[in-house]
């Protein structure tokens, strides 16, 4: 069980404190999943970072009763002069998993071949994304945090990602952030909407969509919520 209890997140800006998330609570049972809808800047990615534990909430707490992944396909942790393999080794050491058995999967999924032993700074953007996604799949988690905007690639890559996540790991929990209505309809049991720092829950994905469309139409972009 993952439970998010009354979390708020305030960022310091040049114009003073700015509240991105305001008293948000929800929980996710093992094996269940949820989609998060919200317009640009609604705080979806912030929420993913808080749940992953990369950042701490300003108030409130998050209990992780299962193994929660880092935000999927995060490529920022790659150091240019490390090879793809070095990056795999690093992640494996941090999570206490032997890396050798994973090399064939990584090589196959990323289609990098011998480039796996080249410094990451020589990789193309696509190669980097494939490696980042493959590393996220190398460690087994109970709950995956997926920000679809981070998984950019061609149709074939998307198909393969979806297969890895939603077919091979369909018994796992996940939290999916996406702008694409179809993705959330297709994979999520339920959806919530983030709007103006608040979280709105609904009985069904369709109801969430109806509300989300309404917030989109409501007009002016997100107001600054000064604290």
């Amino acid at each position: 069980m993952l439970s998010v209890e009354h979390i708020s997140k305030v960022y310091e800006t040049r114009r003073g404190p700015y509240k991105v998330l305001d008293d948000i609570s929800f929980s996710l049972a093992r094996g269940r999943n949820i989609g998060i809808l919200g317009r640009n800047g609604a705080g979806k990615s912030t929420m993913i970072r808080l749940i992953s534990g990369a950042e701490s909430p300003t108030t409130g707490r998050i209990r992780r009763g299962m193994r929660v992944s880092w935000p999927l396909a995060f490529a920022g942790a790659f150091a240019g002069n490390l090879t793809g393999l070095d990056n795999l080794k690093f992640v494996c050491r941090v999570y206490g998993v032997p890396y050798k058995p994973l090399v064939p999967f990584i090589a196959e999924f990323t289609e990098l071949g011998s480039f796996l032993r080249e410094p990451v700074q020589h990789y193309s953007h696509g190669m980097m994304t494939r490696l980042a996604f493959a590393l996220s799949m190398a460690i087994e988690f109970d709950c995956f945090l997926i920000d679809e905007a981070m998984i950019v690639g061609d149709a074939r890559f998307h198909e393969r990602c979806h297969y890895e996540l939603f077919q091979k790991r369909k018994d796992r929990s996940f939290i999916l952030v996406s702008h694409d209505p179809n993705t959330i309809r297709q994979y999520c049991e339920n959806a919530v909407v983030l709007s103006e720092g608040r979280l709105f829950t609904f009985p069904s994905v369709d109801a969430a969509y109806a509300f989300y469309t309404e917030t989109l139409e409501r007009g002016p972009p997100i107001r600054a919520k000064e604290v």
Partner: protein
């Protein structure tokens, strides 16, 4: 074990061990690469610095005849102690900035980044000190230390001082980049006052008291007392230095905890 999101102390310790191991190996490659000497630069770099300074100081005749102190040993002990308190702090000052993406992994903490960098600097400076000392002793340019235990004691105190300062400065950068910017001039100004290039005994009384306010001076004096024995009169109060280090460590720990809450991407 993780039933309600809490994990036991020993499990946390095991995780931290894993993370430190991972960071240590990663840091070695990102810093020194695999080309030419590779990881050996960890020792090579401080050795080159110490050798250069030793040459300069010898040429300049920094130690006048009659003090009974061989210049090579004076320079090696002096510059090595600078490395001990300065480099770890400089490395930690850039630690959060350079390793921030790694903090995306929940189990990688700010303090792990600092521990890794401190450990690397201490290992590098210690190996450089030992290697150079053995080399010069073999050539007959440096005497054998009079009291090895005291040398080790002084070395340990300098490492502690360096580590506590590194935590404080490193974590301080999470509050303001000014901390890292100010550290460089401060380190530069502290160099001539740190006791590396003089013995406290050589200073006028009034200056002695001032200089002895700086904790690292006590460490260098202890180290040299151990190295040269009673050839020269040394001034140090290890109790005072330990108090300073303890105070700095506690402050450092506190600031590190606050810093980890401020990490933002």
């Amino acid at each position: 074990m993780i039933a309600n999101g809490e994990i036991s102390f020993f499990r946390s310790l095991a995780i931290q061990g894993r993370v430190l191991h991972a960071l240590l190996l990663r840091e070695l490659i990102t810093r020194f690469g695999r080309d030419n000497l590779g990881v050996l630069w960890l020792v090579g770099e401080p050795m080159l610095f110490t050798l250069g300074v030793t040459t300069l100081w010898s040429a300049a005749g920094l130690v006048h005849g009659g003090t009974g102190i061989p210049i090579v040993a004076f320079a090696v002990t002096g510059y090595s102690s600078i490395l001990m308190w300065r480099n770890a702090t400089t490395q930690c000052g850039a630690g959060i900035e350079q390793n921030k993406p790694l903090l995306f992994h929940r189990s990688v903490l700010v303090i792990d980044v600092f521990f890794t960098r401190i450990a690397l600097e201490v290992i590098g400076a210690t190996s450089s000190f030992i290697t150079l000392s053995l080399f010069f002793i073999f050539l007959g340019w440096m005497p054998v230390p009079e009291n090895l235990l005291m040398v080790v004691g002084g070395w340990f105190m300098l490492a502690w001082f360096g580590a506590s300062l590194a935590l404080l400065v490193g974590a301080g950068t999470a509050f303001s980049p000014l901390v890292h910017r100010l550290w460089h001039p401060i380190a530069y100004l502290l160099f001539p006052m740190s006791g590396a290039a003089f013995m406290v005994e050589w200073l006028p009384k009034r200056l002695q008291n001032l200089v002895l306010l700086l904790p690292m001076v006590h460490g260098v004096e202890l180290l040299r007392h151990g190295y040269f024995g009673n050839v020269v009169r040394t001034h140090y109060d290890i109790g005072y230095m330990a108090e300073c280090c303890l105070f700095l460590t506690l402050c450092g720990m506190f600031v590190v905890r606050e810093a980890s809450r401020r990490i933002e991407f």
